[in-house]
Symmetry: C2
Subunit: 381 residues, 2 copies
């Protein structure tokens, strides 16, 4: 449920009922960070975690504000990039928090993109068996997806996010003004997850993104706020029904089984959004070929995604990607699970939310999507 | 609530209501392990974790039985001892599980003492963001305490259990026959936690242990079963009220704040039970000196504990122990929290379950208990 504040400048989505949390979205929210932290956690001491890009832009100013409001603050920075999202960085950050003397009455404030919210979230989830985390996403990816839903974790050599924990944030504070500091490329990459929410759940959300690509890539605060609120509200509806991914929540993995495999196959050279874009196109094509997905769905997806991330060219081979599939969390009985659409805005429930394609079907879909970029033609078109 | 099976040979304690789990206690339970695993988890593949002592005794036979019943089983062994309870071992075990190809439909079966249940539990808690764990404790410590309550974790250089997660077991299976393979010394050490449950919650349980020390040290199955069931039932009552240690559960830390500090000060040379025994005596003495704890409580505690673990002689100085206190999880506002008794069987609620003594009181209690072993005289006696 989206709750619009009276001022109209900020809105919020409530995730879960009792014990749930707010996702607050608006302009200028970072200035009110200390009050919002105080509202949700009794903590007097804060461990603020940011990467080397975001620390000077938003991390340090946030730490200063918190100190100004009377919090004891320690600052923890790691080298920006997916390559830092490891158990090694988690060990170092944990030891830094211990060194700083944080007890159970401390909280982690994670300021940054998806790598930061996942990594700092995992530090919080396991520090003294769990202390609260306040998620302060500064990228589209983190605002529309990573910061909400409680998934935290790190990558390991065998694949992405294979180690982690579910750990609800105390609150999510998404200040859309931060999007203006985001590199252009990352804006489009992050919006891919908003497209995913529209594709599986809401054709109107999908169409709104289609109609406002330019403003979104330009980080227009009002349009960004609307898309983030709607996208988070869609995700929240799913997470509330199945927090720990026993079944229904798996629909959020649309595009991710094949996407992660491609991303791993590229040794994380390819952006997460581009990889998921490829994965969604491949899974849509599979569905069309199987007669489950309405004809033309893949083409409409590919068109919008290409406007966001450009044509995706990668040297990854389907063979390289397939190697990573078997280690995927979404594997059951040794076969990777994918998500199929009925049409834009409607996931297919026919296969119990996920579908385990025969290996040759997977290989074929990967082959086509990797050779064609995003514009993949289904077999019969 | 203790539920006695009709046969009388096994009993069980239910922890929590919906989403709760059984702790099953009895003779010969390991032979029925495959059926009990199948009852609680849909897993077809099992990662069995044991240490180098327990693997040949109980781990490998359990793995054989599971394989015989149609499970796919991978075996994972680590060097016995608290020194293995580290993030490094957790990394290695996690990578072994990935290498074995376990997906979300796998479960961990932890066969061993407290180190194994804590460590393997943490592997399960964080593997693919959490897969089920079946706890199969084989020591008194693990049966009466470590396997129940959902605490998992590892030690770090700054102290014990400072990294971990809450992760409920799917079921706990305590086969009292395994106690016969336990070294004598470890029997007494493990029973210290049963004494703790009696000391804070139930004078009758405390008296039953007092009356049956010889049988318990001899691993008499019927007496052991009774003590384990009663002890787990007491702990379960606390855990149900406060699973994540927001308040009331802290009473289970009686003896542990000072005990952990002594244990760390000894560089883990001192057994956990002996360290907690020292901690309980020190905290009882503090309470008597403050007039909160009935006179004679510390003496009665010390007498029973000495029958279990012998006189505790250690070269640890109070200065060495105090250094570790500030990094303790139980620290709030920079002051370590201890638990005080009113008398045997009744914790003091007067201080909100925990009490933060002034540093000189802590130092004094530590000094006395370390110099006297367990038989500590309160100030005015």
């Amino acid at each position: 449920m989206i709750l619009r504040d009276s001022a109209g400048a900020a809105g919020r989505v409530r995730v879960g009922g009792t014990g749930g949390y707010d996702v607050r979205v608006g302009s200028g929210l970072l200035e009110a960070l200390p009050a919002m932290v105080r509202d949700v956690v009794p903590a007097r001491s804060v461990a603020l975690v940011s990467d080397s890009n975001v620390m000077p832009l938003h991390g340090a100013p946030s730490a200063d504000r918190l100190e100004g409001a009377g919090f004891r603050v320690s600052r923890h920075v790691f080298e920006a990039g997916e390559a830092s999202k490891t158990r090694r960085t988690w060990v170092r950050l944990t030891d830094e928090l211990l060194e700083a003397g944080h007890g159970r009455d401390a909280c982690v404030v994670a300021v940054g993109g998806g790598v930061t919210t996942d990594l700092a979230g995992f530090v919080a989830a396991t520090y003294l068996r769990g202390i609260p985390v306040v998620q302060v996403p500064t990228s589209y990816l983190a605002m529309v997806d990573a910061s909400t839903g409680g998934k935290t974790g790190v990558d390991v050599p065998a694949g992405k996010n294979l180690v982690g924990a579910f750990h609800r944030p105390a609150v999510v504070i998404a200040d859309v003004d931060a999007l203006s500091t985001l590199p252009d490329r990352e804006r489009g990459e992050g919006l891919v997850e908003a497209v995913k929410h529209g594709a599986i759940l809401d054709v109107d959300h999908f169409a709104f993104v289609e109609a406002h690509v330019a403003e979104l890539l330009d980080a227009d605060p009002a349009i960004a706020r609307r898309v983030i609120l709607d996208s988070v509200a869609l995700k929240a509806r799913v997470v509330e029904q199945d927090e720990f991914e026993g079944g229904y929540r798996q629909i959020l993995n649309f595009g991710h089984t094949l996407g992660h495999a491609v991303e791993a196959g590229s040794e994380y050279e390819l952006g997460h959004g581009s990889a998921v874009a490829l994965g969604m196109c491949a899974e849509a094509m599979m569905g069309e070929n199987l007669g489950v997905t309405e004809a033309g769905t893949g083409a409409r997806l590919a068109e919008l995604l290409e406007r966001l991330v450009g044509p995706v060219r990668t040297g990854v081979t389907s063979r390289a990607a397939l190697r990573f599939l078997s280690a995927d969390k979404k594997v059951r009985d040794g076969r990777p699970r994918t998500v199929l659409l009925e049409r834009i805005g409607q996931v297919s429930a026919g296969t119990g939310w996920t579908y385990a394609p025969p290996e040759d079907v997977t290989a074929d879909a990967l082959e086509r999507v990797l050779s064609a970029g995003l514009r993949v033609a289904p077999e019969r078109s």
